[in-house]
């Protein structure tokens, strides 16, 4: 029953992807025309490029900042510094805020209108404004920054949990051998964290591939198509253009991308272990 519950919608998406079904028409036929259309459309490949930049830049930066924050908190706890719990809570707040609200918050922050907070200070200091959201060249990076702000907390929590699993004795032994802090970080912390880092990478990547609520509120996919990622395009294709068949093709492609990443994880981490 449970298998049926989970499998049925997936099978339906695959079935729809092999049709030319539109939501405003009851008659449809089977075939691969939807696949042909999507794969031969230059806008699809441009969108895939944007999606890959968005996902992998977000993933690396979330991992990087998550690791730095988790390490700092862990180190703070080792040294009995006050305030580590507060830091964890503050960082986590970004993670629990709904994506749409994050989009609105970052819009207020990055906007070039008179209420744009960052541009207000930039104008005070340099007498100019930066088109964070209205330049087709910069908008994607702005969206990545907002997504990194949102996702770093998740990454931090996973890595923090991993850091807590590393035996204190390893660090003590390394200290006796005269290892520096950097030596300990690269020769104990990173190797010990490797499985957690990989799990984190996979989860962040899949989560970011599926992100569209925040982008919708921040840029709506624009200017032009500069921030239209695949998940947002699926939404627009199905809900805006009523093209269920074509939207399903995009969903199937997204499904296989996510599946490949999961298999990558199994091959490179689980099999190694």
């Amino acid at each position: 029953m449970l298998i049926l519950f989970y499998l049925f919608p997936i099978v339906e998406v695959f079935r729809y992807s092999l049709t030319d079904i539109r939501l405003d028409k009851e008659i449809y036929s089977y075939g691969i025309s939807a696949y042909q259309y999507v794969l031969s459309n230059p806008n699809f490949w441009e969108m895939l490029k944007i999606t890959i930049i968005f996902v992998f830049a977000s993933m690396f930066l979330q991992l990087f900042f998550g690791l730095i924050i988790a390490t700092l908190i862990d180190e703070g706890e080792r040294r009995n510094l006050k305030g580590t719990l507060v830091v964890r809570l503050i960082v986590l707040m970004a993670w629990v805020i709904p994506g749409v609200i994050i989009g609105v918050i970052w819009n207020l922050f990055l906007s070039e209108a008179n209420y744009g907070i960052l541009n207000y200070f930039i104008q005070l200091l340099f007498n100019t404004k930066i088109s964070f959201l209205s330049s087709q060249d910069l908008a994607l990076y702005s969206v990545i920054i907002a997504n990194v702000w949102r996702g770093t907390a998740f990454s931090m929590i996973i890595l923090y949990g991993g850091l807590k699993q590393i035996s204190e004795e390893l660090y003590e032994a390394a200290s006796i051998d005269g290892a520096s802090t950097l030596d300990k970080f690269f020769k104990i912390t990173i190797p010990q964290l490797k499985p957690v880092i990989f799990i984190n990478m996979v989860l962040i990547t899949i989560y970011t591939f599926n992100t569209f609520d925040m982008i919708m509120a921040l840029t709506g996919g624009g200017p032009g198509r500069s921030t239209e990622v695949i998940s947002l395009n699926i939404y627009n294709t199905v809900f805006g253009h009523l093209e269920l068949g074509r939207g399903s093709v995009l969903a199937v492609i997204l499904f296989f991308i996510n599946l490949s990443i999961t298999l990558f994880y199994y091959n490179f981490v689980i099999s190694e272990e």
């Binding site: 539109r22 939501l23 405003d24 009851e26 025309s33 259309y37 459309n41 806008n43 819009n107 906007s111 070039e112 209108a113 008179n114 209420y115 088109s131 959201l133 209205s134 330049s135 087709q136 908008a139 840029t219 709506g220 996919g221 624009g222 200017p223 032009g224 198509r225 500069s226 239209e228 627009n236 199905v238 809900f239 805006g240 253009h241 009523l242």
Partner: protein
């Protein structure tokens, strides 16, 4: 004495039961008596329903519903609320229609009406010719199908227009050249943006900028549903639109950040902050801005005018709004549904009360003239006059793609990635690829 006490108690009991029964006739879950022989399902958006987030709207609707229930004791209405964004709501209705359980009465965005027309029942028998002729022209036209049948009741509308700072600009510009000239002067004197409008990814961008194309006589899609905006003179009109937008940005009158304005209301912050001299907005922003700035200050600073066009003798704007459709084939249910909609939203009284409390525009011309709320309102004359040149977006399936491509092309022109000609070519190629795939 005992008799008097019994009679008094009996009367009190009867009265309280009466009040209870009356109150119970209208709840957010049901209108009418449980035992009523005719049962209707009615799907509305939250802001148009009895489960309304606004108390004043809910009160008006509940009063109308109570009147209906008392006059129609044989009818029971089961309300449903359409949730999600507009496209999601319309999608839900389409899915219900496919599954055979679409509500008997459904609220449909006028923009989606063409998709629903063949799924709705004709309502000719319920409307007199006089009533139909009382409607604003685009509503009258939009409600009819190709065979001339009334398929929906268009009960509210909205319109786009030029808002300008009347304390800074003596006479509103009439054409593109004048607008650029006026905006330059105001910008230089007052350190504010000259002219703002939506140019981001969203329907507001299309609906606020297409009037430039329509005013020139441009046609987006022909009677067969085929895009024609790149054919003959239409191409020239579309290029003119993009060239104008480019001129606005290149002259410094409009900042590039308009490509991040996705809704008309996104400009409200600039208006409240005294940061803009002119903008294209919707009629509903009058109330939004007046509430935020204070009605007196808003009235002192701002006025409205038709959207300036390529030459002063041309006028056009874009209109939208909401309709009701009836899906039940049962004649008794259909008649009951029509009486219900008349009482609540479409009849003269219902429409007057509803548009007044909701801040919408009525689609019956007579309401503007016969009711003081509208006839004494200084904005209404101007709005009604602007609305006369209202254009409805073409209701063909390809329109949504065309709209998206228009938004992308506009951003490309503003960002300097494409010339106006290249933008029109790219828009045409993408729309036609989609059109050919659909046919």
């Amino acid at each position: 004495m005992r008799k008097i006490l019994i009679i008094t108690l009996s009367l009190m009991l009867m009265f309280s039961f009466g009040v209870y029964a009356q109150d119970n006739l209208v709840t957010s879950e049901q209108i009418g008596d449980n035992e009523a022989s005719i049962e209707l399902s009615w799907a509305a958006l939250p802001y148009y329903s009895l489960s309304n987030p606004y108390e004043d709207r809910e009160n008006v609707l509940k009063d109308s519903a109570l009147r209906f229930a008392k006059r129609n004791p044989d009818v029971k209405i089961n309300p449903q609320v359409l949730t999600g964004d507009i496209s999601g709501q319309m999608l839900k209705l389409l899915q219900q229609e496919s599954a055979g359980n679409i509500p008997d009465v459904a609220q449909i965005d006028s923009f989606y009406l063409p998709i629903f027309k063949d799924k709705l029942e004709p309502l000719n028998e319920f409307l007199t010719e006089k009533e139909i002729n009382d409607l604003v022209p685009f509503a009258k036209e939009g409600m009819l199908d190709n065979d001339g049948n009334v398929k929906a009741l268009w009960f509210t509308t909205d319109v786009r227009m030029l808002y300008y700072r009347k304390d800074l600009i003596d006479t509103p510009p009439n054409n593109w050249d004048e607008l650029i000239e006026v905006a330059k002067e105001v910008t230089a004197d007052n350190n504010m943006e000259g002219f703002l409008f939506s140019a981001g990814r969203g329907e507001a961008t299309t609906i606020c900028n297409l009037p430039y194309f329509w005013a020139q006589g441009g046609k987006l899609i022909n009677e067969n549903g085929k895009p024609v905006f790149n054919e003959g003179e239409n191409r020239e009109y579309m290029i003119n639109v993009f060239e104008y937008i480019k001129r606005l940005v290149d002259s410094g009158v409009t900042p590039r950040r308009v490509t991040n304005i996705t809704l008309e209301a996104d400009i409200n912050g600039d208006v409240i902050g005294n940061n803009v001299a002119m903008f294209i907005g919707g009629n509903w922003q009058i109330n939004q801005l007046a509430e935020n700035m204070g009605r007196e200050e808003f009235n002192k600073k701002w006025d409205i005018a038709p959207i300036p066009q390529i030459s002063s003798d041309l006028e056009a704007t874009a209109v939208g709004g909401w309709t009701w459709g009836i899906t039940t084939e049962d004649p008794d249910k259909k008649a009951a549904a029509m009486r219900f909609l008349d009482e609540m939203y479409f009849g003269k009284e219902g429409m007057k009360e509803w548009t007044k409390v909701g801040g919408y525009l009525p689609t019956r011309n007579s309401i503007y003239n016969e009711y003081t709320y509208y006839s004494d309102n200084p904005w209404m004359d101007k709005i009604q006059s602007i609305m006369e040149n209202g254009h409805v977006r073409p209701g063909y399936p390809i329109y949504t793609n065309l709209s998206t491509e228009f938004q992308v092309a506009l951003a490309d022109v503003i960002d300097g990635n494409k010339t106006p000609e290249e933008a029109v070519d790219s828009m045409w190629n993408n729309v036609m690829a989609e059109y050919e795939e659909m046919n």
